[in-house]
Symmetry: C2
Amino acid sequence: MPEFSPAFREQLQDLFRWRRDVRHFRRDPLPEPVLDGLLRTACLAPSVGLSEPWRFVRVDDPHRRAAVREDFARCNARALSDRAGTDAQRYARLKLAGLDDAPHHIAVLSHPEPTQGRGLGRGTMPQTTTWSTVMAIHTFWLAATASGIGVGWVSIIDPERIRAVLDMDPTLELVAYLCVGYPAQPASTPELERRGWERRAPERREWIRR
Amino acid sequence: MPEFSPAFREQLQDLFRWRRDVRHFRRDPLPEPVLDGLLRTACLAPSVGLSEPWRFVRVDDPHRRAAVREDFARCNARALSDRAGTDAQRYARLKLAGLDDAPHHIAVLSHPEPTQGRGLGRGTMPQTTTWSTVMAIHTFWLAATASGIGVGWVSIIDPERIRAVLDMDPTLELVAYLCVGYPAQPASTPELERRGWERRAPERREWIRR
């Protein structure tokens, strides 16, 4: 096993600290080999029973992209209309997706009952399959950040509609719709914190004891 | 933003490659400051709306630990009885948890409807809350691996029963029960692959195009 040095661990900490949900992108595309490399790295993620339930989809078709943007606009308008007063004003000021500028759109779906892995480890906790896909997305995100590439996870969408827009098998579950590209404004603090939406809770950094 | 060097990226790739689900542990405990540091690092994980829904629980009480082991044994026996022939024989040969030897047991729960984050980003995809906790677990796992520490995620348990054993708020969802300690046998290949249970699928490393 390789020995990881204190210097590496310090940089890894930096990576976790600077890994942001990016909503502001430059429009220039990434080299294709770089994107391919990120996908291969994502596939090193843990998966229950070694089931690799993830499906990574490059969305390049302009009509499909436009349909995704429309769905986001509709869902975001609804989310805003559910809020009132200062809360609504603050929400309206946030930029919550980089769908217009990000050069790459990547949808990530998950097979809910994969034959790969032969069911191991998911009998009592079948959600661990979807969670494996979440860890593949997180691996992609960290590897991208280490290459100076930004990722934004758009969740203000109707997952069923997006799956239909992408014409993917209805048995697959949409887990994430990612915007990917060079970030316009790197930052070590979450945008939601910088804009006064929410702060980290120090009590999360303490153990609960049992 | 820090520039990550090609050397760092290569080591990061090693980290992803050597991050294993560990089932064989040495019994010596980790220094407490190391465990505390891993928890603080885990809290750098992304979370929807900056909601930080994770709750990390150190399980030290021997009675609770014994109850968890019993539950695993029961669930694993049931998983075995659902299999037949060669499949059952192969399953029976696998070691699927390091609960006996691992010096530390850590349960990770998730608040399904946190007030922190004020609901942002989870309106149409409420599962993103649980998925945030999954990314905190994955962050913990990677940071541990970088420190030569092994993590094993036990999912062959009844999550409701474990939550009760730990006497945690019934509104919380049990996401993972982790074994943590120094690994007895580091390896770059998943144990399930080494033991012929399953292999990685090369087609996962290709984009689906839309």
